[in-house]
Every structure is written in C-alpha cells, then in structure tokens.
Symmetry: C2
Subunit: 550 residues, 2 copies
C-alpha cells in the first residue's frame, strides 16, 4: 500500500525533530574548558537516541531504575572510551549490546552526551494536550455495524515498534487488513474489556475500539468496524515519554500513563478529549521523593469501576476509581519496586504484577483495594500479559518468565478454594535462557515461553512449550536462524487452536521483512506465516483480550 | 477527511506543541556582568528574611500564589529602587508594609535577593525526619493522671509566633502556667477531637495532648497532664516550611502538612515517629502541574476515620483515610484555588473552607467524600477557625470575615432541615475593615470579628461585636492605642462566659510586652488582662476546641 513508504519517511522525520525538540534543554550550563561537548545538532541526535533506547531503563533524568544511574558525575569517571565499549557490547549486569543497532559514530555521540548535563524535559498541561487532539472520523460518522464482512473478533493487532505503526491481521485468512500509523514504539493495545461492575452499554461493541500509547506519548484510537483506510479515528499527545493505556469497563473513559511528564490522564473514550490529569510524582515505599515517578502497567479491574495504575519507581499500585472523576478516589497500595507489567488471576479479582527490581510478584486484591501478598521469585520477573491455568495439584495457578534467569515460576492463585497453595510457589521449570513472554489458552494443554533475552543467538531464536499436566518441556522450537532475528511473544487465536509467534529483528525494524509464524496449538507444527511486517513484537487477539481468555 | 491530510495535521500539531514546550524549558539565562549580587552571608540573611515574611504569600519558588510572582525576570524589570519602595511601604494590591519590622539595610538586601536566581530548597526523606525525633519524656514515664491540680480543660494555649513558643495560660486563674519552646511561628495547635467514627480509647484524655507545627516544619507534642517544665514531651522536623497539623480521632496518628517539601507526613501519635510520607505535588484544577503545591489547613473529620488535607495551589481537598495507611485511600475533591483555612458545620459533616483567590467558600461533604457546594463571597474570605450559630430566619449558619473587604458574610449550612437556605448567603454585615478572625460560642448571643488587616491604626486596633438575633453591630471596641499594636483573634473560655482577645505587635514580638484582654461575654466589658506574653496571636481553649463548641 502507498501509505507504507510515505508513513515511514514522515514518521522518522517527525520523531527526529519533535522528540529532540521536546526533550532538549540544550544551552544553559556553563561548561568547563575540557568538558565533553557536542554541537546542537549532535546533542539533539544523541538526545533522540537516548530517548529511544536508553530512557526506558535509565530514566529521562538518568537517575536510574531498572538500569544504572547515568548522571554526569558517574559518567565522567568512566570516560569516553569505557562508555563507548559498554554501549557497544553491553554488560554482564544485564545491559544489552547496541553495536547491532547503532553506528560507531552514534555510540560515540551517546558516550559524550552521557557526560554532559541532563536536559530536563518540559511539563505538558491539559490545554496543550487538548490542542493536540485530532479526530480523523467525526463521531457522527461512526458506523453502527461493521463496514466489512471479516470476522473482526479474530483480528490480531500487531505492534510494529520502531516503525510507529500497528498492523491489523485477519486471524481467519492471515491477510494484512490495515496498517495504522501510531505513536513511536507502541507498548500495548487495550480495548474495552468485560467488566462486571460497569458493563458496557453495547456488549456487541466489546473489542471494537482499540487504544494504543506510543513511547512518544501519542494515544491512538482505532475502530475495527471501519473500512481499513479509516480505522484510525483519533489521536492525541498526552506526554513526551509514555507506555500504557486502558479503557473503563463502560468505554466512557480512556486512561493514558506518562513516563514524562510523570502523570496519568483520563480522557473521554469517545472524543479523546483530555478531561483530567493526575500527577504520579510521589514518595516511594522507602520514604524518598521521586521526581521521575513513571506510570507503568494500567489495567481495568473486572470487578470494580477502577483501574490499577502502577507506579514503577514508587513501588505502589494506585487503584483509581473512575466512577466520579471530579472527586477522584485513589487507594495508594504499597508493594515493592520497580513495578512493571502484570495480569489478573482467572477470576479477575487479584492483580499480579512484577516488582522486578525486588524479585517479587506483588498481588493486589482489587475488591478490598489492598495488598494481598508478595511472592518472592527469581531474578527480574517479567510476566508480560501473563498466563493462568489449572494445575493438577495446586489448582488455579499463574506464571511468569524472568528477565534475569531462564525459568518459569508458577504459583497458586486461588485463595478461596486452594488456600494452602495460594500465593506460594507451586513449581518451577528451567528454560535455556531469560525471556519476556509466556502465554496459554484455556482450550490448549500447553504453555509457551520465550527466551528472547539470552545473549546466545540460538537460544534467543528458540522457545519452549510446556505441558500443563506433566509440567515438562515437550518441545523446543527454533523459530529463525538469520542473524539478528529473535523469537518473541505468543498470542492464541480466538478459539485457541493456533499460536502466533513473532520473528523480531531489532536491526532491521524499518524494513517490512518481519514475520509472524502460526503454529497449530495441538500438533505444535508450523502451519502458516504472515509476512511483510515491520519487526512485529506484541500481538493482541480481539476476542481473547476482551474476554480475559488467556 | 483523507487519512493523509489528517496525519499531516497531527504531525505538525505535535511538532508545534513540542517546540513551544521546549522553548519554555530554556531557563538558564547567562548572567550579565552587572547582575545584582550578594555575599554568601548577605544572601543567607535575605533568604531567611524572605522565608520568614515573604514565602507564605509568594512561595518558596517565588512563582506566586496569594502574592505575585517574584521570579528574577519580573524583579529585574522593577529594579532595586522600586523593589525597596514596595517592600518598605507595601502596595494597594494588598501587600503589607515592612518598614516597621525590617531595617533599611535588610530591605535593600531583600530587593537585591529578589533579582537573583531562586534557590531551590532540598527534599527531606523519612530517614532524615526519623533522625530528627527528640523524645524529652519517655512513653513509660507518661503520667496516668494530671500531675497538677489545675482545671486543665480550661487552659488556653497561646501562640507566641516570632518568639517560637506556646504559652499555657490557666483560664480560671489567668496565670501563666508554662512556656513551651516550639518551632518558629506556630500557625495552629490541634488536639484529639471528639470523632464518632473512631472514638478515643480513653475519652478522659481528649484534649490532653496537643500538637503544633512551626513554620520551620518542626512538630511539637505537648502533654497538659505534666508538670510545667515537662509539658514538652517530643518534637520532630518534617519539613523546612510548613503550616498545619491534625490528630486522628483515636489519637493513634498525627499528620503534619509541609509547604516545602510539598508533602504531608503521618506520624505515630504516641512516639512522633514518622510512618508515611505522601507527596502533595500535583495537577491543579486548571490542568497545570504545580511543583510547589503546599498543604494548607488539615482537620480530622468528626464522622469518618479521615482528615481533610487542603491543597492550596491545586484547589483540591484530599480526604485522606487513616484506617489503613499502607493502602492509603484518598479522595481528591476538586474545588477552587487557593485553599487556605476552614472549619466544620455544627454537625461536623460539612467542611467549609476558603478558596480565597477565587472569592469562594468551598463546601465538602465528608460523608460522601465529594464536593457539596461552592459559595461565591466577597474578596479573599478568611474564616480562621470560623463561627457557626443559629440564625432566627436561616437556621444554622456559618460565617467568615474577608482579607479584602470589611465584611462578615453569613450562609446557611443545614441542607437537611433548611434546604432553602443551605449554601446560600443569608446576610452580610459591613465592618470598618478587612480582618482575620471571627468567633462565637453556643452559650453567647454575640459574634466577635476583628479588622486586623485594615491599614489604618485605629481600625486595626478595634473589633466589632454583632448580635446573632438582630444581626446588628452592638459594640465597637478599641483594644489598644500604642503604635504597632493591633487587635486580633478571639477565643471563648470553657463555659462561654469570657472572650479572650490578643494585642499583637509585630514590631515588638521578641519582647514579653504582649497582652491578652479578657472580656465578659455578656456585659462586653473588660474584666482582666494576661500580661508578659510575646506578641500573642492565636489562642486555643482546651475544652472548646476538643468538643467543637465554637
């Protein structure tokens, strides 16, 4: 489609200019005579590179979080050469290598940039957000039924991270239906989910509208009932750095969480008009003020008119009640640092989230709005969208992979009927390397887990399939062999008969060379490929995500 | 609209917004050669003077609040001479004159200081607070009954602002019982009050322990059962600039509110150990981030286990539930800027607070934890501890003086039995000048109101007494005639038969020349004086404050 190339060019231009402009504070400080310096152009480029690949772990203010503190005082001690080496090759402490993505020149720029004063990005007020709202389709022009004959409940929405787009793939026909321009590096997509406390007025519309958040703070609204070229219906920029988004059960509100400025924004789910901004700056569980207090995972709670809004650096989950946003009720639930990603138990009552720097899975009871339990697990748990199933001995269980070790940890999560196993480790399975994602479906006997984080190419290109009954690895699949390709992220189709896996190549992310590999969920054999994608990562099946089926 | 056009628009909007935002971030202006400078010693003195007399209205960061923005950009335009004149003589906009308190040299220092970069004060974490706890009497040594034979329920605790002390005066004998060293410029004192939701385990102890907050962030715990020299039992510093304090109904917790750092702290009411810090930095009702978001009045709510914590710059009342401080529930109730001081209606359900920059009295329903009403009043309402009584026509009413005009405004505050008058102005009475305080007692037929803010000496030395039945001024009393003396603040004694009024002299506040004048509440004649006080201001009668009698 003609949209593709045009989009790619303009998208990267806008990024280079707008992000650098937003984040730069260049030009204030007095500089010592032999201090590292860059031209404004070089600084802006380094600033953009830092934002795209470093800020996630180290923070915009470089004070450190999952990654180390990178303030100039520490960086000047390491010096130019050592910094270049670390950026290029990574560290044993868990830092990635960037020599495959960044040129030597860019690495040198970054190393110098890190030794210079930290530019503090600006705030963003509600008036600025409101000015940035774009409505491409007017509300009055929204269709009252799907304008195409496809089975949209089995659509997969596929994140094309660095390309700044989401592709819509027909799960029945495996055809690419649409490519929607979004913010840069979308992290997740969310739709209205089934909420027993605030049911949707039109249940047939569950899963119709999808909302994304770009890493550049751009929120996008997608209408799957539209013709492909009109599926992008609105967008708005609520931050300069951001990750997550969620919808209220009734579809009335959308919430977007900012990394910078540190805040969350409640918007009108129909018009995308920002209605309310709440600062996430706060005091962490150690009693220290955190300026860059970032908003991590956000989810609608299936049994209450609220979202769980996770404060990464604070080590707090804020349960934000949206039943009256002018008198906004929040429970600030203390747990542990740094909160990252999480998922609900099968009943939808308990939210299970990784406090990854504490090697803890934190459990919140969204009914009592209190902390339920802390489960000590291994290094750096990262459940992604997680997996729940019924274990023959422990009853209902949840599970996570780890960023720090090749291991699946499984815990009991049914305190009502299996109190002896609740919030205790049931069993663990070693894999060949640390990974990002785990997935299962209630109609399938297997759990799928990746090994994306392992430095060895063969390991990161392979994933494991584990039998829920025997708790054994039944198959190891090597998905790709091309240098740079890694296997990442699983998503079942609507009826649980297929598993879709991404081949992700970070070094080739602006070319449509990426693929999704479709496996038969029972035979575990490859059955199809979806091609021409831009380095696909996360995938979201409409039906499963909307109905909490996985 | 075609997708392409829409996309282009979105991008240019984002670009424009980001660029504009980035431009405002260009803060660090290079210092011109003839820029105003001070020696370190001069700067520190000016900084102290600014903190003591200017920061309250203009903010530590000088961004302005009740007072104007005083950032260097604006100050440099005015220049040294004009600034000196304004500081010395005040302005018609409501700024006080300081020539009576500050020498010419100090005024010159301040004028220069204001043209220099704003020094940002440090944060203060919970570890630093904990290190600052002093316990002068161990818990095990607390007496189980009063160690003196005085009627401590009729004690008056008297603020000696600039002297940094609180005097305890025996209301029966008018004797000075003790003088307790506190933080600088205590704003209020609070004790455990009668709370129906969380009653005190030992009701006979209601009013025994008192807590103060100094303007320097020092919280002090006072035990009225002790011998005078041991009444100071503990203190702790929770901030560098602060105003208010409150106690939980059961006496288990104390809360202190900081101006800087902008936060509030929940402490153990027994040991004064800080337990929990919550940031008050937030987004105001206009959708703008406020760094210096100061905590104004705090009160225990008589019908719920919660405090109303008022966010001055945000225009929000946070109802903070203390029944589980690890899962802290807060309702962020939007009302209007800038929140200052407030008081409950006679039932204790509705909190009535001045949003003084909006000329509004904001009413919160602490039962539903929502905004109840906004009442438009005249310029700069300032109720202080307020006054409620029963009006012959409107039924139960509340009332406030104003900082901006000589007027008492009276509104109905009984929505249950007098809905027609609820939250509407019932009547107004003109006085001779703007004032700070109003007071009444259920056993007295009169309301007392001061005129402290009027620039004319005769007016600020006089106060008015108004008849609740006839709504007429029945007497104007000139309390003092010495230059610099003003009449301020009223407090009834335990049975409502006396009214105590302060003679306050700002220019003589470090000498024990101040007096309280005691009036017969029925004949309105002077009956006694309490002398040897350091410029007394606010007074707190133990029984009345603890039992919401006034």
């Amino acid at each position: 489609m003609s949209l593709k190339t045009g989009l790619r060019k303009s998208q990267s231009t806008i990024l280079a200019t707008a992000l650098a402009a937003a984040l730069t504070g260049f030009g204030g400080a007095a500089v010592a005579q032999d201090a590292p310096t860059l031209t404004k152009e070089q600084f802006d480029r380094a600033n953009l590179l830092y934002f795209q690949q470093c800020a996630g772990c180290h923070g915009i203010l470089r004070k450190g979080a999952t990654g180390k503190n990178l303030e100039p005082e520490n960086m000047l001690k390491l010096g130019q050469q050592r910094l270049e080496r670390i950026i290029a090759l990574g560290t044993e402490g868990g830092m990635n290598n960037f020599d495959m993505m960044y040129s030597k020149e860019d690495i040198a720029l970054l190393a110098t940039y890190l030794q210079m004063d930290v530019p503090v990005p600006p705030e963003r007020n509600i008036a600025q957000m409101r000015e940035s709202v774009n409505r491409y389709v007017e509300l009055s022009d929204y269709p009252t039924k799907p304008l195409h004959g496809r089975n949209w409940q089995n659509f997969f929405l596929v994140i094309e991270r660095d390309h700044g787009s989401v592709s819509v793939v027909d799960g029945d026909t495996k055809e690419l239906v649409a490519r929607i321009p979004t913010g840069y590096a979308v992290h997740v997509l969310k739709s209205t989910e089934n909420n027993k406390a605030v049911p949707h007025a039109n249940p047939e519309e569950l899963g119709r509208f999808w909302y994304t958040m770009g890493r550049d703070g751009k929120m996008t609204k997608i209408d799957l009932w539209q013709v492909p070229e009109k599926m992008l219906v609105a967008d708005v920029q609520i931050a300069y750095d951001a990750r997550d988004v969620a919808v209220s059960g009734d579809g009335k509100y959308v919430i977007g969480g900012g990394y910078w400025p540190p805040h969350f924004v409640i918007l009108d789910g129909k018009t995308m008009e920002p209605l309310k901004v709440v600062s996430s700056r706060g005091i962490n569980v150690d009693g220290e003020y955190v300026n860059e207090s970032r908003v991590a995972a956000i989810y609608d709670t299936p049994h209450a008119p609220s979202w769980v809004v996770n404060m990464k650096e604070l080590g707090q989950t804020w349960q934000v009640d949206y039943s009256d946003i002018d008198n906004l009720r929040i429970e600030m639930i203390d747990n542990a640092k740094y909160l990252h990603d999480g998922f609900f138990d099968p009943t939808g009552r308990y939210f299970q989230i990784a406090s990854n720097a504490s090697n803890i899975m934190s459990i919140m009871d969204t009914k009592t709005r209190k902390l339920e339990a802390l489960i000590e697990v291994d290094a750096l748990p990262h459940p992604g969208p997680g997996a729940n199933w019924v274990d023959p001995k422990c009853g209902p269980v949840g599970a996570t992979p780890h960023l720090g070790v090749g291991k699946m940890t499984v815990w009991g999560n049914d305190p009502i009927n299996h109190p002896d196993h609740a919030w205790k480790i049931c069993y663990e399975v070693d894999t060949d390397g640390p990974g990002l994602f785990i997935r299962q479906h209630e109609n399938s006997r297997y759990v799928w887990i990746d090994q994306t984080i392992h430095p060895d190419q063969e390991v990161q290109q392979s994933f494991k399939i584990i039998d829920k009954e025997t708790r054994e690895v039944v198959k190891t699949v090597r998905l790709a062999e091309r240098t740079g390709d890694v296997a990442v992220h699983f998503e079942f189709n609507q009826d649980g008969s297929e598993v879709w896996v991404s081949i992700w190549n970070r070094g080739d992310s602006l070319q449509p060379n990426g693929e999704l590999v479709v496996f038969d969920a029972n035979t575990l054999e490859e059955k199809a490929r979806v091609k021409d994608l831009y380095a696909p990562t996360g995938k979201f099946n409409v039906y499963n995500r909307t109905n909490h089926k996985t």
